[in-house]
């Protein structure tokens, strides 16, 4: 009750907020609890300990100006995009637009359009139509209510936009824990192609909440390579989601890279709405400290002969925790479905924990579905093999860890992202106290 009043008041104070969504959110049950099936093993109570403030409503913080630019430059430095790698970049600090400090290729403007998201009515919904019941994501309503900073990307028919960067950063909260709700929409017209790298970065100091939503439509025979990176630390609770709808022959590769040491919940959902659509849902969590990554996937096969492949991996040091909850739903008419799902976890310490739950809902019988989950420590046989060739104990371990993570890292859509993931592995290496 108290939280509902808090958020209703916050929405009333924030120009441009959509207060009805706050009401809808609380009418629908409000914040999740650990009793919710969908939040089992996770720690949803961190969302309700305090009422978060929207940035714009809080006393002036580093939303604009030199402070924001400096904060952005600090995090942006972790991404070393080549001088012509990016066709465009948009960046925000605490929801306020700040120019991207790195290099961007010239003369690519005809290949795409990036603009602000229009009003509430224009919020596109990949989550309507087929599979809508499965796609219910209550926290998205809070994003709709408070969305602040965000963009729509549109790639015209037949064009190849190259790589586009959407970079949302935040600075430490003061004086109250603050929340950020970026919203992105990605529309690929038929036959077009793009790579979109979406980054959420920053340090919240004494806590905060980031709740981004990305929705997209991939037109017939269009191709999207989508990477979302969670780099948030310092007590930020991250709850992010992406939902893509694929038309006939469309292809998506979605990768979620969780490198933050905070608490993160991600939902990667795809609706294979057109015949022969094909989606890869990949994930990599490099867990450190008390970091928690609760990674959910959902592949809805709503059309015949579509393909979905899921590969989520975690490397867990210290007392980190990985949760995987992957779903494949095959609708009655989706004959010739080919779906696979794999979740593999590598534990490097006694304190690290894993919960994994693959779920299949198959409503017809002309389906090829494979799934598997594995939780293990470094393979003693492999360690001995490498050491017998002269590699030191730690080098051998690192080589095995890098090999394990490499399956996802190799396929990241940008050299800068691969480098970032390698630096995540270096951080794991630095923990050193591996017991396995």
């Amino acid at each position: 009750m108290e939280l509902e009043r808090h958020y209703a008041a916050a929405a009333a104070r924030l120009p441009g907020a959509f207060a009805d969504h706050v009401a809808r959110f609380f009418d629908g049950g409000g914040f999740p609890t650990a009793r919710d099936e969908d939040w089992r093993h996770s720690t949803p109570e961190v969302l309700t300990r305090v009422g978060f403030e929207p940035f714009a409503a809080a006393p002036r913080t580093a939303g604009n100006g030199a402070g924001a630019a400096a904060a952005l430059a600090g995090t942006a430095a972790r991404f070393r995009f080549g001088p012509t790698e990016l066709a465009a970049a948009r960046s925000w600090v605490n929801g306020g637009s700040v120019p991207w400090p790195g290099p961007v290729a010239e003369n690519r403007e005809s290949l795409f359009r990036i603009g602000p998201l229009a009003g509430d009515a224009a919020v596109d919904s990949a989550s309507e139509g087929a599979g809508a019941a499965w796609l219910r994501q209550p926290l998205d309503l809070m994003n709709r209510a408070f969305r602040h900073g965000g963009a729509e990307v549109r790639v015209p028919r037949g064009r190849d936009a190259g790589a586009l960067l959407l970079f949302s950063a935040r600075t430490p909260s003061a004086p109250r824990a603050q929340m950020l709700h970026p919203r992105f929409r990605i529309v690929l017209e038929p036959g077009s192609a793009a790579t979109v790298v979406e980054v959420h970065a920053g340090d919240a100091g004494d806590g905060g909440w980031t709740n981004p939503t990305t929705e997209g439509r991939i037109g017939a025979d269009a191709r999207l390579d989508y990477l979302r990176v969670d780099l948030e630390t310092g007590g930020i609770v991250h709850t992010g989601r992406s939902t893509f709808r694929l038309e006939r022959g469309a292809r998506l590769r979605s990768t979620v890279l969780a490198l933050g040491a905070g608490i993160s919940r991600s939902d990667a959902s795809v609706v294979l709405a057109g015949e022969g659509a094909e989606a890869d849902l990949n994930g990599l969590f490099l867990g450190l400290g008390q970091g928690v990554a609760d990674q959910h996937t959902l592949a809805i096969h709503a059309a015949p002969r579509a393909v979905s492949r899921q590969l989520y991996k975690s490397v867990l040091a210290d007392a980190s925790c990985a949760i995987f909850d992957g779903k494949v739903v095959v609708a009655p008419g989706a004959v010739g479905t080919d779906a696979s799902q794999a979740n593999r976890n590598l534990l490097l310490s006694e304190e690290a924990r894993v919960h994994t739950r693959p779920r299949l809902e198959i409503l017809n019988d002309d389906v090829k579905c494979a799934h598997g989950a594995a939780i293990g420590r470094l393979d003693e046989n492999a360690l001995f093999y490498l050491r017998s060739r002269g590699l030191g104990r730690m080098d051998a371990r690192e080589m095995l860890v890098a090999g394990f993570a490499g399956e996802v890292i190799r396929n990241l859509p940008s050299a800068a992202a691969r480098e970032l993931a390698e630096s995540g592995l270096a951080a794991i290496r630095a923990t050193g106290n591996w017991t396995a």
Binding site: N381, Y385, R387, R389, L391, G392, G403, G406
Partner: protein
């Protein structure tokens, strides 16, 4: 190079336990520098245990006796220290290492041992040139060096990869554990040639095999028969031919 008596490897009264089970029960074996010795024996007689304990595998506990390499006791040496000192084991069952590129792994290993042997490390160009030469000499499929270590290799390809590693790491003592199993006759000849090219007055080989066929191609100086955890008979290469004809059951009768 070797201990004063000319032995590169000296094993005396070696007793080894694995998971509380006594596998080697007082094994004696001396391999002079520059020689090739074969160890034969039935399945389960402890051949691989001997190979592993020479390479320093954890869990293979020495409960008696000693292993000396170049006169120095190996009991406390880690596997990587043995490898750097010049010991190489070609595994009976080479391990698949998903995600670790074969070339990357081999370059790291070669430079690690070179570093410890006071040889300059090889840069990428020099290493690839060396690798290409060794790959061709072994008729190794060049595609395989770009794949993850042993992943999806056939049995024969794995064995060739072991020998490729041996030719790159240039050990002074190479232990080959049933390298012939899984090889067809052509592959066997290629592997044997690879080994024979490396034979030199400074290098010794311990060739473990179940069948004498390999010894037609890698002709040993001495042949030993392992039975129930110790050497039960030793002789020249004719012993291998006799074992082939008579089987292992009669081996060691004369000495027991």
């Amino acid at each position: 190079m070797s201990a004063g008596n000319g032995n590169l490897l000296e094993i005396e009264g070696l007793r080894v336990e694995v998971e509380g089970r006594q596998i080697l029960r007082g094994l004696d074996l001396a391999i002079p520098v520059g020689t090739t010795h074969a160890v034969m024996g039935p399945n389960g007689s402890g051949k691989s245990t001997l190979a592993y304990v020479i390479a320093g595998r954890e869990g293979y506990d020495i409960t008696g006796g000693s292993i000396r390499f170049r006169g120095e006791d190996l009991a406390d040496a880690a596997p990587e220290e043995r490898a750097r000192a010049g010991i190489f084991l070609a595994f009976q069952y080479p391990v698949e290492i998903p995600g670790v590129n074969n070339t990357y792994f081999l370059k790291a290993a070669v430079n690690e041992v070179r570093k410890h042997r006071d040889q300059p490390e090889l840069d990428a160009m020099d290493f690839l040139a060396l690798m290409r030469e060794r790959v061709e000499a072994l008729h190794f499929d060049p595609e395989l060096i770009r794949r993850p270590v042993n992943e999806g290799f056939s049995g024969g390809e794995k064995k060739r990869n072991e020998i490729l590693q041996m030719t790159l790491l240039e050990p002074t003592l190479a232990v080959l554990d049933e390298t012939d199993s899984g090889l067809d006759i052509d592959a066997l000849k290629v592997v044997a040639e690879g080994v024979n090219r490396m034979r030199s007055p400074e290098r010794s080989f311990l060739v473990i095999t179940h069948y004498q066929r390999l010894l037609d191609h890698i002709v040993p100086d001495r042949v030993h028969v392992l039975g129930e955890g110790r050497i039960v008979e030793s002789g020249d290469r004719d012993l291998a031919l006799r074992l082939e004809a008579e089987g292992y059951r009669r081996a060691g009768r004369a000495t027991r």
